[in-house]
Symmetry: D2
Subunit: 442 residues, 4 copies
Amino acid sequence: MNKDGVKIVTIGGGSSYTPELVEGFIKRYDHLPVKELWLVDIEAGREKLETVGALAKRMVKKAGVPMKIILSYDRREALKDADFVTTQMRIGRLPARVLDERIPLSHGMIGQETNGAGGMFKAFRTIPVILDIVKDIEELCPNAWLINFTNPAGMVTEAILRYTNFKKAIGLCNVPVNMVAGFAKMLNVDESQVTMQIQGVNHFIFATDVFVDGVSRFDELLNQYAHLKPEDTIQMKNFVSLPYSPSFIKGLKAIPCPYHNYYFFTKEQLEEELEQFKTGTVRGEVVSKTEEELFELYSHEELQEKPEQLAMRGGAKYSDAACNLIASIYTNKGDIQYVDVRNNGAIADLPMDSAVEVACRITANGPQPIATGTLKLPISGYVQMMKTFERLVIEAAIKGDRDLAVTALNMNPLCPSDEIANTVIDELLEAHKDYLPQFFNK
Amino acid sequence: MNKDGVKIVTIGGGSSYTPELVEGFIKRYDHLPVKELWLVDIEAGREKLETVGALAKRMVKKAGVPMKIILSYDRREALKDADFVTTQMRIGRLPARVLDERIPLSHGMIGQETNGAGGMFKAFRTIPVILDIVKDIEELCPNAWLINFTNPAGMVTEAILRYTNFKKAIGLCNVPVNMVAGFAKMLNVDESQVTMQIQGVNHFIFATDVFVDGVSRFDELLNQYAHLKPEDTIQMKNFVSLPYSPSFIKGLKAIPCPYHNYYFFTKEQLEEELEQFKTGTVRGEVVSKTEEELFELYSHEELQEKPEQLAMRGGAKYSDAACNLIASIYTNKGDIQYVDVRNNGAIADLPMDSAVEVACRITANGPQPIATGTLKLPISGYVQMMKTFERLVIEAAIKGDRDLAVTALNMNPLCPSDEIANTVIDELLEAHKDYLPQFFNK
Amino acid sequence: MNKDGVKIVTIGGGSSYTPELVEGFIKRYDHLPVKELWLVDIEAGREKLETVGALAKRMVKKAGVPMKIILSYDRREALKDADFVTTQMRIGRLPARVLDERIPLSHGMIGQETNGAGGMFKAFRTIPVILDIVKDIEELCPNAWLINFTNPAGMVTEAILRYTNFKKAIGLCNVPVNMVAGFAKMLNVDESQVTMQIQGVNHFIFATDVFVDGVSRFDELLNQYAHLKPEDTIQMKNFVSLPYSPSFIKGLKAIPCPYHNYYFFTKEQLEEELEQFKTGTVRGEVVSKTEEELFELYSHEELQEKPEQLAMRGGAKYSDAACNLIASIYTNKGDIQYVDVRNNGAIADLPMDSAVEVACRITANGPQPIATGTLKLPISGYVQMMKTFERLVIEAAIKGDRDLAVTALNMNPLCPSDEIANTVIDELLEAHKDYLPQFFNK
Amino acid sequence: MNKDGVKIVTIGGGSSYTPELVEGFIKRYDHLPVKELWLVDIEAGREKLETVGALAKRMVKKAGVPMKIILSYDRREALKDADFVTTQMRIGRLPARVLDERIPLSHGMIGQETNGAGGMFKAFRTIPVILDIVKDIEELCPNAWLINFTNPAGMVTEAILRYTNFKKAIGLCNVPVNMVAGFAKMLNVDESQVTMQIQGVNHFIFATDVFVDGVSRFDELLNQYAHLKPEDTIQMKNFVSLPYSPSFIKGLKAIPCPYHNYYFFTKEQLEEELEQFKTGTVRGEVVSKTEEELFELYSHEELQEKPEQLAMRGGAKYSDAACNLIASIYTNKGDIQYVDVRNNGAIADLPMDSAVEVACRITANGPQPIATGTLKLPISGYVQMMKTFERLVIEAAIKGDRDLAVTALNMNPLCPSDEIANTVIDELLEAHKDYLPQFFNK
């Protein structure tokens, strides 16, 4: 660590999330003194970076903390001697996301950016870039921690862990913190009192125990959850708000995360998304509009704080979670956070060297996963299936292997048939051609 | 073993398959001297048993072998000192199967008797009965081998292995022998020259290596399989004949069994079945008609052999496989057969004490599974998912636990949503009420 | 937990360690308000209990804390509604320990109370008693935590975990805290800054990583350790002070605990103990004398604090570690401590349901083991061997099975031959006959 | 396979075992038509090779089979297009073995060529040579099977499996066939009727089940074995003939192989070997003398058959086992043989990619290991320990790493202390310097 203050580099700095990140560092300045925050982006994102960077500078100024905001279009210059690198870039930007969603839907398949056909192609676009970033880090700031929140965060993390020698990569998602918030509300306690045991992979986790002040209140919570009203489900922007049946929850003895809707309410979720498809309101399209509005807001000179509207963006708490993680590493805090890390036996029946999303004790040496035993029986097979899907996608991403892509998609329950898998993959390959050199330049 | 000739007891003796079984024993009489073949059924099946039993007697007489056919309605009397017990009963008979198929279809879900909603309810009806039979065996013929070919054969076998102390239960299916036959044809060799390595569970196996005279020709076969014409797929009665895409097979590096159509051609298979649903020709309805015709045939006094038409029934080779298995145990032959047995590490990442369907060396001490290592990566997650489904179904069957049933069905990719899972299960519970005391008499 | 202050029950309260325990509770009173400390012993130990109990009362009085000391000879009365139960009894008292050591030595085998022939017989005497205590706890204070520091602490803990349904048992040893202290000294930092990753079973652990303020300094420490002078080894009372060779440590890439001397300096350790055998100074004999002196001290009315001499006893830090553990559970502290708990995958290649000694995060819900991955290769086999020895000993202890005892001892590298195993076991069975009803009253 | 007859290359062809090998091929000529048998040796072994080669030619001539014996000092010339390669060379010849045994004994440690200090150094000398041979095979006869019976056969096999891409290596030992012979005698049946389940690694296996005509008779055998007289133990040249105690065998529920004497009768075995040390009759010395006598015999022109005296050599049945293995591969026999192969889950708790010694079905595609489940509990730890020892030795052999060598030896229960480990290793390194370039030329 730099002795005289922490140097942080944010790749994809022009993201609309950045103000939350800046706010997070400002409010933690007493125990996490950030000397320099480098916001890095590519030339194509210059306009956004300038806008968000200017806002960041105004925020810092208003807060009166000696944190330097530096805008850069030269990743390598920025990385030099960094203590932490955060990655939040979106290869192909939002238009690519819209394609990830619309093309599968045009063939009757849910397309989403976490683990279906959309997530697969987001992985295909992102993994080669992240591996390049890791190469730079190994050369320019080998002791830095890499905190990735580019989706699919789990696959991106596993790609680094399996295909490089770099060990200090951590994946981060806002799903677990949102679950904590939801459970706290249900149990009528403060979020800070709640910790969870979770088992699964990114965007496919189940809470298998929930503690208040360290004491399990899972049986009580499970019972509440089995009898939830629609309006009390953990709300996320992209989902139908349907509570699971009491039987399902009681048989499961675990609480699914919101993204499980894709798999356990496939029919209803698909119907809703097909409607959005028709009206041009798939998630990527909605988000594009929100982003425009946000950037309009950000450009106002008088704005000197993170605007309220950002919370509507969908990725709320993402950046705050990142700040929390960085702070706990910096201070060797030893608190529990939920991140994507090398399994190392934490989930005994998943591969030792795969990424999993579990509760970890955060130390100066990084996250130490708490052992959870084997996967609880009812969730076991489905989590295994998702991990296999991830591993196939990662291998296909690295090798540019269309066969593996088809096989991976066939192995995902959202895929209606081998024939459709082939069609959708061909169309997505063509649509994202510019970002997929590994598939085309062989 | 009885010194003066083998005693075999067939429970569900009135089945239309029985003539194949009888033929199997007749043609193996030189090395498998069956002294007594007891055909056992319940009173409700008296008419069928009388018909098929009379045919069996005529067959034996014509063949001129000293094998005694004995019809019985008293299971316990029959079991006394048996050497082998085969089970081929169908609780609720074909009308129950029709319900297993039609009720899920009425809600847009494939219903089939191996591992979907239909297979689940067939397990619910069968498992309590098989456990009763095992109790009788433990008392009356504890050294007998139990060969089960009542579906779902894998779940029924695992139920015995997990919930009783009886170790000599073997599950049997005709899928592997049909795969061997298909591969032999593709490679233009005799079936007897072909052996396979398979990984999976009953009705969900993949060929992961194929040998001709002991030498692997898998790469060649895989390549052929990747470029199959529809008419060259391994034909089974209940499936659309669609070849998988070249990419899928090449990425998979394994050959699916015909039942995988349900999962990898879900859309097309469902469309076809919905058509059958409308026209009253779901599989159970077709089979009912075939059975009527068969029994009509069987009742002809002049018929003294297994009629050709039985081969059309769909379960062809089932009974022959059973005879083969019995003969190899009796003679300690050491040949390779494909059966459902305690895993014992044969598939390293499935539970040691679960039933798996793998290549086994058949000895007087029973089947010895050949170690196959871990599941090949591309098939790994899906096989795990199916095993989890099976384990949940078995536990639900034993406990009469509706919650677990709902959870199990939600975990099966054929299920479109939690809501439909609940509806279908409620209707099937009601429809099969008489055969499901464990769910109703608590 | 009792709302108005914690109730603690110490079984084997007459132990010479008790003053350390009392001191530990006194100095933690601000965050661990112990309302009642029940010191329980058997009639045969009345004299000791009265002496140590009187001292305890004087200590409390002097400290001015409102903690009530209650002496009891009725375990069941004491246990009623306890929050924590600590067990530190010694079945057969020190004379039994002397026999555990001298009988094996008389046949040229190291006899010690952790995991050789002596440890085996201490397990045989203790396990039936602890299972009785657990039965009482389940009835009288089912929510209490049981903290056991009766040796062999690992086997005793595993016996409870495997043979009862009681989950809240934790084993405790002073070896890890002594290692922390030693490492802190070597690295010239405060003990409170040091945490470790350890792998192994009780009295057979290896440090596989060591952190200062969360940052690994293991490579540096390993290098120091590889070039240690005898006087700098972690000193324990019962061992020859020999440093391991540089090659051994460098090849091992792990730091053994002091008890490994038995296995890696067998020759030298045996020679020393044979000398003690001749001169009547085996560890048990030395300790007997120390105890006499301690009790003489304790009986002085003017003594109102834990005397300095207790630190010489050998088990120093044991009781303090217990107080620390209790305090962290009570306050849900989340700090790292090293205890014997259900593995739950923390060491991926040891049985899930065995006890292991690892770093755990201590919470109100008990210790959460940190995942350590598989055993580091160089230590893997030996740790596995010790765990097998433990499992065989436990099973022999429960069943009173002499055959298993002989097999277990043969599997321990300290045993020179099957013949000697049989002889030593016969003599020890005879010597401890009164405490081994399970072997004699069948 | 060569179409017109099998080509076999024997490296170390000048061994005294060769006549048994030649006899083995002669008597199997009808189903294993060996066209060419190349006996390859190094120049230093010319005299022996000429002698044994001449005998081989006389044997073939007398038998009247058209098998060509070719002597060669050019390994690469010989290997061209071979079908099978057998390796039976001894790097450093018998004088090296004498040092392997005498140097450890001079420090009070058993030195033997399977898995103690001696076996370690035999591995150090052999592994680099075998890896060179494999390189030649990959280039010159990539489809050949390599049958290794150079000791330590298990470690040599694992070195190939882990450190090369060559898959067709099989290790072979005469211990299992001698166990079969012994059990057959005890059960009063023919050897051909007996098969075993074994678990373990080379020279450290346990019979965990024994079948006669496929039916288990293990309980009966175990009972006999528990009450064996010394003269009825499975006799091997190098061991004290002590039967294990009834308790040990009954607790073990497995039958150790003769080499277990080193570990379970360490004291008695060491005493006997120390006596031999004094009298110059350690095993290597005795064998040297036997060899001289054998070669004297072999040189007699009138000798045209394998002489009876060879059976006394100690390695009897080794070569016959090799012929059996080759014949079964060639004919795709499917019989059970006991070889060292990639585990692949056959022993569920040993590493998948380690070599284990288990019952395999021998096919044209090589040995298929039968799944045995997890290691039986009583033998589990010790087998794990031996596998760890092997893995450390192999890694040390490849890397020339003295630190790992010291660590490995410390991990072997035969080693009395770290200090002696260091001394013995230094002396053995010096003694074998010429054959250990990897340790000296770095």
